[in-house]
Amino acid sequence: MKVLVVDDERDVQILFEQRFRKEIKNNDMQFAFAFSGEEALDYLNIHQHEAVLILSDINMPGMSGLELLDRIKNKFKTPPPKVMMITAYGDKENFETAMRLGADDFLTKPVEFTVLKEKLKAI
């Protein structure tokens, strides 16, 4: 399974690599990282059918996670990658917008990695 993680916090990369250390080592999962919505779209344009799942932060400078979600769901239709939204603001408004734009799941920060792992295994 290939996962693209989109977050403006660069240390998210080290954190994911450590949290999924065993999965990466066993080659069960591969991770790619983008630090802005724009970078994420660039990555998806080059690696069209690779990423199965996209984990995106909503609150990012420039293109927001919701904007990115909208673009992904409109542009990459076959097959549409699953998009999970992660946000520090777990409010109703963000949740509803994410769902309306076609988000497959919605998580609030701080991310419970055990919960996230369960969700990823279910896909």
């Binding site: 916090e9 240390d11 080290i14 954190l15 450590q18 949290r19 250390r21 609150n59 400078p61 420039g62 293109m63 927001s64 904007e67 520090a88 603001y89 409010d91 408004e93 963000n94 920060k109 701080p110 991310v111 990695f113």
Partner: protein, 334 residues
């Protein structure tokens, strides 16, 4: 005897009249004195009344002045608190992020250390060495993010505290960067649809600048929140294609007198400042925001603070295109 005899008849009348005249004159004088005394008494009473009245007025004015001074202090304080309120959400967000990293990385380290114990039993030293390096890296990250949260709390406290009035050498680039992030998240928390591109371009050669950190922090924060407000207003009234951009940059510049100065500018691509408002923006209580939304003190206070530092605050704008606020501060003015 002859003499006595000769004065007797006609002079008695003369004496009589003279006496009468003296009495009348005396009376007149007494009356006059009485009259003038009363008059003076009246004048005096009137003056006394006027004096009392003036004293009362003076006291009233003094009280009013004191009230005004108190109100001014309260307004300045409430303006400061209002800007702190705007920041609260940003601060919470900015602290939550590093705190999440601290928790996550320490969780990972507990896992790693437990695995290392097992690996030690199995005498798997190469594996242990890899894990040790990871633990070390994670510890560095915990430290970084702990310090980050610490810095945010410190700057928040600094903002809410009464200004020390004491100048100290600070890194103005760090200060500007911190407030940019806080203001951005603060604005986002209030208006979730808000989004803007933030750009920073800092001149590292500026070095430490001698300023009152709380005061200059307030100026920078005020200019940034104004910029975010300007672009969000433009976004509401223009098409989808508009991309809001707020940028800060610093430059070191040698003033004509040879003194080194730092120029910090905050620029937004909002609607700019209309001609009729440009002369008033630094006046206290002037605001273009709807009533109840702005104190009208932000720019006026900022101007006073910059002037008190021996610096200058200028504005450059084009209606419908941009507004740029330019602060010039002497670098060594201690």
């Amino acid at each position: 005897m002859v003499y006595l005899n000769t004065i007797q008849s006609s002079d008695i009348i003369v004496f009589f009249f003279a006496g009468l005249m003296t009495i009348i004159l005396l009376f007149g004088f007494i009356l006059y004195f009485l009259f003038t005394y009363r008059h003076k008494q009246r004048d005096f009473n009137l003056l006394q009344l006027q004096k009392d009245e003036i004293d009362t007025q003076k006291h009233l004015l003094e009280n009013t002045l004191n009230d005004l001074k108190l109100t001014q202090t309260q307004l300045i304080h409430s303006e400061k608190m209002a800007s702190l309120g705007e920041l609260t959400a940003g601060i919470a967000h900015e602290i939550q992020n590093p705190l999440n990293f601290v928790n996550n990385f320490s969780d990972v380290n507990i896992e790693l250390l437990n695995e290392m114990i097992t690996a030690l039993d199995n005498q798997n030293y190469s594996e242990i060495k890899i894990m040790l390096n990871d633990v070390l890296m994670n510890e560095t990250k915990i430290n970084d993010h702990g310090k980050r949260a610490d810095g945010i709390i410190k700057s928040m406290l600094q903002h809410s505290r009464k200004s020390s009035g004491i100048k100290e050498p600070i890194n103005i680039n760090t200060l500007a960067d911190e407030y940019m992030r806080l203001a951005y998240h603060g604005f986002r928390a209030k208006d979730k649809s808000f989004n803007a591109k933030t750009e920073t371009d800092f001149d590292d050669s500026v070095g430490p600048v001698n300023v009152v950190p709380q005061d200059i922090g307030r100026v920078i924060l005020n200019l940034i929140t104004n910029a975010f407000y300007a672009v969000s207003e433009k976004k509401k009234s223009t098409s989808e294609s508009y991309e809001p951009i707020v940028s800060i940059n610093t430059r070191k510049k040698i003033a004509p007198g040879g003194k080194p100065t730092v120029i910090l500018s905050v620029r937004d691509n909002g609607n700019g400042i209309p001609k009729e408002a440009i002369d008033k923006i630094f006046q206290p209580f002037f605001t273009t925001k709807p009533s109840g939304q702005g104190t009208g003190l932000g720019l006026s206070l900022s101007y006073d603070i910059v002037k008190a530092h021996g610096g200058d605050l200028k504005v450059s704008t084009k209606e419908g295109e941009y507004a740029e606020f330019i602060i010039t501060l002497p670098i060594q003015n201690g």
